[in-house]
């Protein structure tokens, strides 16, 4: 079930969105390419600043989270720390974030806007227990350039998504962003991942 109760449960359950033994949707299939195109188009909307259109891709029951990463010893696991979120969003808070950027001229953290480039790759798709929902993992490389800076703020992440696929549309039901940095190299997280 997508609606895990708390952040800790959501991340524990979803550090890998695919169930063990789940059937893989191989590249080359029509479904694979539909989902691939969805992620590519989504990145384009974000980078073009079309946040209202991007918002339409989110399911009403979306869970959009980004847990902390810590530096720990190998035997302690991945260092993903579900007790502290960077993002812990539902549809209503995402709506506010989008409205803030699109409707207020005082959302100074992103006005003037950053130039962002979301590079999405390494897309792997598995079936889930639900007929129309797919566990999709992808690598994200985000480049963010701002103001007079001659360089980029960089972030890379493993995104664990659940996508809901119908004949008409694909929507994002869940996104867990597993950031690689234990020290975020950005002055804020005023951009979507």
């Amino acid at each position: 079930m997508a609606g895990a109760g708390t952040l800790v449960e959501a991340v524990d359950e979803n550090e890998s969105a695919a169930r063990p033994g789940a059937q893989r949707v191989r590249s080359g299939s029509e479904l694979y390419w539909r989902i691939h195109d969805f992620l590519i188009d989504e990145a384009r909307l974000l980078d073009d600043g079309r946040f209202n259109d991007w918002f339409e891709l989110l399911a009403e029951d979306i869970s959009y989270t980004m847990p902390l990463r810590q530096t720990t010893l190998r035997r302690k696991g991945t260092g993903i720390e579900p007790r502290t979120p960077w993002f812990y969003e539902d549809i209503e808070s995402m709506r506010v974030r989008v409205r803030r950027v699109m409707e207020s001229d005082k959302a100074y953290s992103e006005d003037p806007p950053s130039r962002t480039r979301h590079f999405v790759s390494n897309i792997v798709i598995h079936e889930t227990d639900r007929a129309h929902e797919y566990a999709v993992s992808s690598y994200l490389l985000l480049l963010r350039n701002r103001g007079e800076a001659d360089n980029y703020e960089l972030a890379s992440a493993d995104r664990q998504d659940i996508l809901r696929v119908s004949n008409e549309a694909i929507t994002l039901v869940r996104r867990t962003i597993l950031i690689d940095q234990a020290r975020l190299g950005m002055q804020n997280l005023a951009v979507f991942m």
Binding site: L7, T71, L73, R83, V96, E103, S109, L184, G185, N188
Partner: protein, 458 residues
């Protein structure tokens, strides 16, 4: 002892501040020479927050933190005490602790294999008797230790043997710290390990802001008004008269807001009409669940309860760099939640600091309540918070301005002065400046900063 440093170009540091006119030269913000003096005169002399006890509950639990530019290990002892150890091997200077947090029976340097007990004392090294037939110099080979004191679970460290006690350092500011952090017998705990993010600005920019800059809210956070999340109340006389800033001679600052303003935000006009306990029950203080109100009533005295229900602390700063937050947050669904936590602005060079943010919760809260707080905090404060993400737009710009030859001759100005209130007219300590706007407690932070830098502070 007064000893104002003389900079390489002959400038006497004390000449960069005009204490009468309440302004100072922007050069102070990010001059590399002044930054290096800060390492000695502030970070090695003041009490510096390195964490909270609930991060290291069990013997051997540790976190890796920084005091100024120095890496330290903060570790729980078997006795329950906390030690703060310089994270530098006394043999050949390798970093001993290489993880953010964990539990260790002892600390082990990977370079040559020297080991140290949890209290920092030398434990052993390979070929020990062959290297030191007479026995090793255990004192020289132990990790350097800072003084440690704990207040309300917040761990402070200090490298200076001459520094005053933490109680003296905090002074009357404890009256306000207790209203945030000592509200029940059980106290508070962390909600999880802290966010760390890097801002290309000087650490003093956010620190002095949190010591009293309420004035920026109406402009920099104007998007919240546009979105209907905040009433445009800061323009009103009512708002002005109900804002109180408290400063202490130690450089600490706290903003206390008339609770009626919070009730207005909660759109509950009956707030005024009720008893203290009813008020607390209808709108519990930040980070505190409804179930704990009874514990608050039992733990606090009459004066404290009045402050908490009439003029609760909302935003403050412990000198030099610890931001405190305890305020209510309007959530997207119209409900009112809260953000309760702490920031540390840790220098990483003249033009860069690490923003560390912890979320707190009163102990004993349900998982559901903790989850609400996590959601409200991510929404409002820290890196992605719709309030604080705008703050990090100004600190780098101020820092860049101070790098220009002409720019650094500009002044930082704190001219809006209010008379302190009569001491009998307030329920707790410190100098109280009522009215908005006011630069008083922010200026107070800078006076304290210059006192440290010029050797006036002890």
């Amino acid at each position: 002892m007064t000893s104002s440093p003389v900079l390489a170009d002959g400038t006497i540091l004390e000449q960069l501040i005009d204490r009468e006119k309440r302004e100072f030269s922007l050069r102070v913000l990010a001059d590399p020479e002044i930054y290096n003096l800060e390492l000695e005169r502030i970070w090695a002399k003041a009490w510096i927050v390195v964490g909270h006890e609930s991060e290291i509950s069990n013997a051997g639990d540790f976190v890796r933190r920084r005091i100024g530019n120095d890496s330290v290990i903060v570790v729980r002892q078997r006795s329950g005490d906390v030690e703060c150890l310089l994270n530098v091997c006394p043999h050949r200077a390798n970093e001993i602790c290489r993880t953010d947090a964990g539990n260790a029976p002892a600390f082990h340097c990977i370079y040559h294999g020297w080991t140290f007990n949890r209290d920092g004392s030398f434990r052993g090294a390979p070929f020990l008797s062959k290297m030191f037939p007479e026995g090793p110099d255990r004192e020289a080979y132990s990790l350097r230790k800072a003084r440690v004191e704990v207040f309300c679970g917040i761990i402070f460290a200090n490298w200076s043997e001459e520094a005053p006690t933490l109680a003296e350092y905090l002074g009357e500011f404890v009256d306000y710290l207790r209203l945030l952090f000592d509200r029940t017998a059980d106290g508070f705990e962390i909600l999880g390990p802290p966010q760390h993010y890097t801002v290309p600005g000087n650490w003093k920019a956010p620190s002095e802001q949190m010591a009293g800059d309420g004035y920026h809210g109406q402009s920099l956070h104007g998007s919240l008004v546009d979105l209907g999340f905040q009433v445009d109340r800061q323009q009103s006389d009512d708002w002005s008269n109900s804002t109180h800033r408290i400063g202490t001679p130690q450089g600490h600052g706290m903003a206390c807001m008339d609770a009626r303003q919070i009730w207005t935000a909660a759109q509950d006009s009956e707030g005024d009409m009720t008893t203290m306990e009813e008020r607390l029950r209808r709108l519990p203080p930040a980070g505190l669940p409804l179930e704990s109100i009874g514990a608050v009533m039992r733990h606090l005295d009459e004066k404290q309860l009045r402050l908490l229900t009439e003029t609760p602390p909302s935003v403050g700063l412990i000198f030099p760099n610890v931001g405190l937050i305890g305020f209510h947050v309007a959530m997207p669904d119209g409900s009112l939640c809260s953000s309760f936590g702490m920031h540390c602005f840790v220098p990483r060079g003249p033009g860069k600091f690490e923003f560390i943010h912890w979320n707190f919760v009163e102990r004993g809260a349900s998982e559901e309540f903790k989850d609400q707080l996590r959601r409200a905090s991510a929404f409002s404060v820290g890196a992605a918070g719709i309030i604080e993400q705008d703050d990090s737009e100004t600190w780098p710009a101020m820092t860049r301005a101070s790098e220009g030859f002409i720019g650094r001759q500009s002044k930082m100005r704190y001219h809006i002065a209010r008379p302190p209130r009569d001491r009998d007219d307030w329920l707790a300590g410190g100098e109280v400046y009522s009215g908005y706007p006011s630069d008083d407690t922010q200026w107070n932070w800078w006076v304290r900063y210059f006192d440290y830098m010029t050797g006036r502070a002890d």
